[in-house]
């Protein structure tokens, strides 16, 4: 088998949980990558993928809780995670700062996700191998 060097990955998720397999495939990949000793520089949510960062998702109890599973994985491995601000705001994924700025009734971003711009994605691309997990639709 070929000699495999350790990688630094950025994972970009553009598919929503419960609408696509993107968050599930990405998490299974992420777990395997970390187990194999690779580093995940950050996880970036874009487009419909921002729903992975929702603190208000309530799946049936017999279904995986993708936002929670992702939060636990990220916190447990100390991996930074960003939801793109343009995608997030349009879809009603709000942090406390944006709640104040727009005088909204609540905020609903689940820690450790933070809201930031596409600059985070651009920067990640300069220093890591970026993998995209899109909806299959």
């Amino acid at each position: 088998m070929a000699d495999i060097s350790l990688q630094t990955y950025t994972l970009v998720i553009t598919g929503a949980p419960y609408s696509s397999q993107a968050p599930q495939t990405a998490l299974d990949f992420a777990r395997a990558a970390v187990t194999a000793g690779h580093r995940i520089d950050r996880v970036f949510l874009y487009g419909d993928g921002v729903h992975v960062a929702s603190a208000l998702i309530c799946p049936p109890s017999d279904e995986p809780h993708w936002p929670r599973l992702w939060s636990e994985f990220l916190a447990g491995n100390q991996i930074p995670a960003v939801a793109c601000i343009a995608s997030a705001l349009r879809r009603g994924l709000i942090d406390s700062g944006e709640q104040q700025r727009y005088e909204l009734s609540a905020h609903n971003i689940r820690a450790p996700f933070e809201i930031a711009g596409l600059g985070e994605w651009v920067e990640a691309g300069t220093c890591s191998k970026v993998l995209y997990f899109h909806s299959g639709a």
Partner: protein, 110 residues
């Protein structure tokens, strides 16, 4: 259940990760882009197109075992060339998916 350590290629120029069935326009575009030094990995719904992709691809093809199993492609039932092709397509797990991605110079998620 995946083949015991499916033989992964020694070199991969571009790893194409396809998650769409073969009638999807983007799957069609993916197939037209494959080169002999590449590898194509079928995940999610794309595993259903394994026989077509295997016939069209000039390079090694793999599919994620979890996605094949989910869709009943590893079951012993089903007759004909198509069903047989489904069952014999090389299957890998997420650990090997990571290995493929580490080996590839370039990765395109279609």
């Amino acid at each position: 259940m995946s083949q015991s350590v499916a033989d992964l290629p020694a070199h991969i120029h571009t790893l194409h990760i396809l998650n769409k069935t073969t009638e999807h326009p983007r799957a069609v575009q993916c197939l037209s882009t494959l080169a002999t030094a590449d590898t194509v990995l079928l995940i999610e719904n794309a595993v259903l197109g394994a026989p077509e992709v295997a016939a069209a691809a000039p390079c090694p093809m793999f599919m994620l075992a979890a996605d094949a199993r989910a869709r009943g492609l590893t079951a012993k039932s089903g007759a004909g060339a198509g069903a047989e092709a489904m069952r014999t397509a090389p299957q890998i797990d997420y650990e090997q998916m990571v290995q493929l991605s580490a080996m590839a110079t370039r990765i395109i998620s279609w």
